[in-house]
């Protein structure tokens, strides 16, 4: 896996700074409201308390609305290429793509014929890192050729026939018949 890390430019740093300023301003507003509220409540100025709390509430709502508006605008305006460049990307070095369909092939007459040299023609190969043995998969492959659904049904049917958790499947010779 290749992981490319983002390189923050001045724009991203400014964005972070503005985000920090917003948080600081919000904290300041809340702090100011708390101080004023305490003072007004201490002097029993109920109407002023209510007025200040209302103003602070309105300011907070406006701030949140403005922040949401600007963030939405940034998302819409942000070019996708820039996002892809700045976000950590997980790039798999290999990806499973069945280059060739699984085919049923003729059973090898003599396994001893198969050598490391013979494998260069890849009689077993399905893709780069998976090799199947036709000798043992002849029956299964024939069902896979006709479609995965049938194979699933075959497997499901076969599995449903056995309830014993200890496998006591038939021998290879039986399966071949």
């Amino acid at each position: 896996m290749k992981i490319s890390f983002p390189k923050y430019g001045p724009v991203e740093l400014l964005t972070r700074k503005s985000g920090g300023a917003r948080i600081i301003s919000l904290v300041a507003i809340v702090f100011f409201a708390g101080v004023c509220g305490r003072y007004f409540l201490g002097n029993k100025l109920w109407l002023l308390t209510i007025a200040v709390l209302g103003i602070v509430g309105i300011l907070l709502c406006l701030g949140v609305a403005v922040a949401i508006f600007f963030n939405q605008g940034k998302i819409n305006e942000a070019p996708s290429i820039a996002v892809e460049e700045n976000v950590p990307q997980f790039i798999p070095q290999w990806d499973y793509r069945p280059r060739k369909p699984i085919r049923a092939r003729a059973v090898f007459d003599s396994p001893s014929i198969e050598t490391s040299d013979g494998l260069s023609s890849d009689p077993f190969e399905i893709n780069n890192n998976v090799w199947f043995n036709d000798n043992s998969l002849e029956d299964a492959a024939s069902t896979f050729v006709s479609g995965p659904t049938e194979t699933e049904e075959t497997i499901t049917e076969a599995l449903s026939q056995t309830t014993d958790p200890v496998c006591s499947g038939p021998n290879v010779e039986d399966a071949a018949v």
Partner: protein
């Protein structure tokens, strides 16, 4: 997670993290997986339980995967063997497949590749 699958798929690898990952993968596919880190322990289990499929790593300190495959063929001929390894050696691959391995996988392999190999092996058992 309780599986309803009657077929046991044995995992043999000296790397516990691989065993854990493969065990989870097989469990997620509703397959009953049993993990072994010791080849002798696995062979003992295979002799008595005869698992349907065995996934065996080639490189293990106690015993090589090919040796385990050879012994497994004697004590449990019905068990389908899937060999996996991190080193793609054509000679090892040829030996494993000629000895009757259902599939030979080189790491890293995809989840679907492994599950396909296991399902094919299970289908060939039945």
């Amino acid at each position: 997670m309780r599986t309803t699958n009657a077929f046991v798929v044995c995992l043999l690898d000296d790397d516990l993290s691989v065993l854990k990952g493969l065990g989870r993968l097989l469990s997620s596919a509703d397959l009953d997986a049993k993990s072994f880190g010791d080849p002798r322990e696995f062979l003992g289990y295979a002799q008595t339980h005869r698992p349907a499929v065995a996934l065996i790593d080639v490189c293990m300190p106690q015993m090589s995967g090919l040796e385990v495959q050879s012994q497994l063929a004697k004590i449990s001929p019905s068990t389908r063997v899937i060999i996996f390894t991190g080193k793609d050696d054509p000679l090892v691959r040829s030996t494993a497949l000629n000895a009757g391995a259902s599939a030979f996988l080189t790491k890293p392999f995809d989840d679907e590749e492994l599950l396909t190999a296991v399902r094919l092996a299970l289908a060939s058992v039945t």
